[in-house]
């Protein structure tokens, strides 16, 4: 046996030991501290260079599409919350819009604006989480804390409107659950001020930071043409310089009435993705502000004092048969717990008795309203779109989020397909990281912004 040097004794055979190459197999995940999300990357390494990888997904699969087929149309709304759990509002509205397209109904202008405003707030939340988490993985823990703080302000807005922070279930086929609360525009203004300050701070901290740039510039790059071939959409595609934003390309809801820019990158690497996300947050806030300014009907500042009555008292009056004039009395409802009254209903929901639940005054106070309510919630009745199929894409925080809904004419969707925006980048992940260092997997994976909920459905 030949004499071995100390290095060889410690390192054994392998590259650099002049005893022939040997590849090392490393398994990252499904539960790895640097992987936010449950995914397995099986990497073949030559020294520190990644030669080949196999990405395995599906650890968070919970049969979203099968579950949707079981219940009536509106029952799928809570499931869509759990798709992209960082920006659930966009999923809600995307699904609702797909069913509305299938039904062939139009929603009110005010509802369109509410959807735009809430979607943009969600998009900012999503980008804050993505940028914050990937900066944290590169050691910039401060950035993460700052951005989560900013997200907190936005989630308070979401909570104000929907009554929940994460599993919001706010969208409805034909409208939304309830109107925006009183004084919402002032709260948005305040929260956006905080977010803008955080973005400024983050720019100062990392945008020209040597360590950050060394880890991000030129890493995980994909050209525009290649990104398109891989089906990548959203910030990742725009970072590669391809101008495709559904809000501009095929405007839906009220996006055609908004003024905003589509930030584009050049190199398609992690750094450009970071810059595009940072710029998009500013644009999203701009859209939300315009939405609040142009909100048809204005911000609600109505004082119900002396006019409205308590819903319980209202029901009692109905039960006692004192229904004379009852339909004209408005009731005071908490918009995020009990639904909405007649006035709010008219503002935000489509005028279609076959789709939208009647206002509570009508349901409690008249037999027609009660029957209408039951016809929509009874098994075998409910919303029944005509036989057909429809695909409705929206610009999700990660890219094109599409819902393909097939109806067989009954009250349940025959088939619901969600086009997950983060599946293509994860499929292209081997292409992005092969040939790079193993440490580069972490920022690249962070910039992909994999969301297990929508990837595995």
């Amino acid at each position: 046996m030949t004499e071995r040097s100390t290095t060889e004794l410690f390192l054994g055979e392998g590259p650099g030991t002049s005893r022939g190459g040997q590849h090392l197999y490393v398994n990252m995940g499904p539960a790895h501290p640097a992987m936010h999300g449950i995914i397995r990357i099986f990497a073949e390494l030559d020294g520190e260079t990644v030669v080949k990888t196999d990405v395995e997904i599906g650890y968070l699969h919970r049969a979203f599409e099968k579950d949707c087929e079981v219940g009536p149309y509106n029952n799928a709304i809570p499931y869509t919350d759990r798709l992209n759990y960082v920006s659930p509002l966009i999923n809600n509205f995307g699904y609702a819009s797909a069913v509305e397209k299938l039904l062939g109904i139009d929603i009110t202008d005010r509802c369109k604006y509410i959807r735009v405003i809430m979607s943009e707030i969600s998009r900012v939340c999503d980008h804050l989480t993505c940028v914050g988490a990937s900066a944290m993985e590169l050691g910039a823990f401060t950035v993460f804390l700052y951005m989560i703080k900013a997200r907190e302000f936005l989630w308070e807005l979401v909570e104000e409107v929907t009554g929940a922070r994460l599993t919001i279930s706010y969208g409805r086929v034909g409208g939304v659950k309830a109107d925006l609360p009183a004084g919402f525009d002032l709260k948005v203004k305040k929260a956006f001020g905080e977010v803008r300050q955080v973005l400024e701070e983050v720019h100062t901290l990392v945008t020209a930071n040597r360590i950050f740039m060394d880890r991000m510039v030129g890493i995980g790059a994909m050209s525009g043409a290649e990104s398109v071939a891989w089906g990548i959409t959203g910030p990742l595609l725009r970072a590669a310089g391809v101008n495709y934003d559904l809000r501009k390309a095929q405007p839906y809801w009220a996006y055609d009435r908004m003024q905003f820019e589509v930030p584009l990158g050049k190199n398609g690497d992690n750094f450009d993705r970071f810059l595009v996300r940072m710029a998009e947050m500013e644009q999203s806030m701009r859209i939300a502000e315009q939405g609040l300014e142009g909100l048809p009907g204005g911000s609600i500042q109505v004082d119900w004092e002396g006019k409205a009555i308590d819903p319980a008292a209202y029901v009692d009056r109905g039960k006692q048969g004192k229904t004379e004039g009852l339909l004209l009395v408005p009731i005071q409802l908490s918009p995020n717990l009990q639904g909405q009254g007649r006035d709010a209903q008219r503002r935000v929901n489509a005028d279609d008795k076959k789709v939208v639940l009647p206002p509570k005054e009508t349901a409690y106070g008249s037999i027609e309203g009660l029957m209408n309510h039951f016809m929509l919630v009874m098994d075998g009745y409910g919303i029944r779109p005509p036989v057909g199929e429809a695909y409705f894409p929206v610009e999700g925080a990660n890219g094109e989020l599409g819902f393909y809904v097939v109806s067989d004419g009954t009250d349940r969707p025959y088939r619901v397909r969600c086009r997950p925006p983060c599946l293509p980048p994860v499929a292209a992940l081997p292409r992005m990281i092969e040939g790079q260092m193993i440490a580069d997997i972490i920022p690249t994976f962070g910039s992909v912004n994999m969301i297990g909920g929508e990837l595995d459905r």
């Binding site: 997904i57 599906g58 699969h61 049969a63 599409e65 099968k66 579950d67 079981v70 397209k101 299938l102 062939g104 398109v228 071939a229 891989w230 089906g231 959409t233 391809v242 495709y244 390309a249 095929q250 036989v387 057909g388 199929e389 429809a390 695909y391 894409p393 094109e400 599409g402 393909y404 097939v406 067989d408 004419g409 025959y414 088939r415 397909r417 086009r419 599946l423 293509p424 499929a427 292209a428 292409r431 595995d456 459905r457």
Partner: protein, 160 residues
């Protein structure tokens, strides 16, 4: 758009419609890959983005009880021209095979794996047709209409 597809492929296009503004063409299996290549490369179609591949099981669909069991559905989008197209290919239960689109778009690889996983439709020529979301030991294909939602799967893993 649909007329152009029809003249080009002739008998390969069996039906077209534009329900709710979604342009849809129903193709035969043989015409699928030529149609996809035509849509991608023709200068005034230029469907460069393969948005989605999925399937629908028509087992209990009104009017389709006796027809082909599945439809494989392709959603295409053109970034330069900003238009969309849906292509559907009917497949029978006893011969659930469709030619692969992996030669045209690399993303077709994972999307087709998911369709195989969920519906048991095979893609001829696919380089690596494994299950995508479920595990190898999973029995059946859960998005088929004859797969009951409450069905339990056998436990896998090391025996104790």
């Amino acid at each position: 758009m649909l007329a152009r597809l029809k003249t080009r492929l002739g008998a390969g296009v069996t039906d077209t419609h534009a329900h709710r503004g979604d342009h849809t063409a129903v193709l035969t299996r043989e015409a699928l890959v030529p149609a996809l290549a035509f849509c991608r490369d023709e200068p005034d179609l230029r469907f460069d983005l393969l948005a989605d591949i999925t399937a629908v099981d028509y087992l209990r669909y009104p009017g389709r009880e006796d027809g082909p069991r599945f439809d494989v559905v392709y959603h295409l989008y053109s970034i330069p021209h900003r238009h969309r197209l849906r292509l559907r290919v009917p497949v029978e239960l006893d011969d659930p095979v469709v030619p692969t689109a992996t030669g045209l778009w690399p993303i077709a690889n994972w999307l087709e794996r998911e369709v195989w996983d969920m519906f048991g439709i095979r893609f001829e020529g696919h380089p690596d047709l494994r299950r995508l979301l479920l595990y190898e030991e999973f029995e059946g294909h859960p998005l088929r209409k004859d797969y009951p939602i409450e069905r339990r799967q056998p436990l896998i893993g090391p025996k104790i």
